[in-house]
């Protein structure tokens, strides 16, 4: 099975480039079995949303 180290790196990359079919498949399998990485992915998306909200907050009233 793919390691959490690799899975988290791929989750981050998925925010910057389209993953290949194989990468997506491996990630799906990994997430099925790993609570930590499921949370990690969800939290990365939250962090992106926070960053966008933070910019908007700071650049308009």
């Amino acid at each position: 099975m793919m390691s959490c180290r690799t899975a988290t790196q791929l989750m981050s990359e998925s925010l910057d480039r389209p993953l290949t079919r194989k990468e997506k498949l491996n990630l799906v399998f990994h997430k099925l079995m790993c609570t930590g990485c499921r949370r990690f992915e969800h939290q990365l998306n939250r962090i992106r949303m926070y960053a966008h909200t933070f910019t908007k907050k700071n650049t308009s009233e």
Binding site: S3, C4, Q9, R39, Q43, L44, I47, R48, K57, T59
Partner: protein, 207 residues
């Protein structure tokens, strides 16, 4: 009725003139802009130059703004463009490939030798209370975590998540390839996640 309308227009005009004369407001706006620019340019004097240019450009047109919020949005739109121009000039060439080759101990320490989470480093569940996005304490914690990012990562994270540049737009102007950028963004995100979890989402809200 027509009389009332013209009075309203007049009031709007007076507000816009007041904005220009409102030294306190302009200086507060300038400070916010400088903070925003420093985060991205990592250099105070470049940030000040860029802010100055943006402010002068924006204030020339300030007559047409009748509300502070409209002026602020406009000023920051100009500032973003000035920041991107400045980054594009590429005065700074960081040896990014070198940064990527070095292992980052803080991140490697999260995983065991098989690359799986250490038991106590495993991401915890994040509560998402209602109103979190309006909570000033939360945003203060977020700001602290952003500032805690090492400059070598923060700059690229800002370009990607704040200026919303695409990978190829960032790589075009920097001495790095897409793989290096992916490594840097990963490290920035992992660190930010750690900081938010430990400083905010963990019980006690230490920050």
């Amino acid at each position: 009725m027509p009389q009332k309308q013209s009075r309203e227009l007049n009031t709007g005009y007076e507000v816009s003139i007041d904005l220009l004369r409102d030294a306190a407001y302009i200086s507060e706006l300038r400070e916010q802009m400088i903070k925003f620019a420093i985060l991205q340019l990592q250099d105070e004097s470049t940030a000040e130059d860029v802010v100055q240019e943006a402010l002068v450009g924006a204030l020339k047109n300030a007559k047409s703004f009748q509300r502070k919020s409209a002026l602020k949005t406009w000023v920051f739109a100009i500032l973003k463009n000035k920041i991107i121009d400045s980054l594009r000039k590429g005065q700074k060439t960081v040896a990014v490939s070198q940064i990527c080759e070095e292992q980052e101990q803080e991140i490697e320490a999260l995983f065991d030798n098989k690359g799986h989470w250490h038991q106590d480093e495993k991401p915890k569940h994040w509560e998402q209370p209602e109103g979190q996005l309006e909570d000033e304490h939360f945003w203060r914690a977020f700001d602290i975590c952003l500032n805690a990012l090492p400059a070598k990562y923060a700059r690229f994270f800002m370009m990607r998540e704040f200026l919303e540049l695409e990978t190829h737009e960032i790589c075009e102007n920097e001495t790095l390839n897409a793989n290096n950028l992916h490594v840097i963004l990963y490290r920035a995100r992992v660190r930010l996640r750690e900081c938010l979890e430990n400083g905010w989402f963990a019980e006690g809200k230490a920050i």
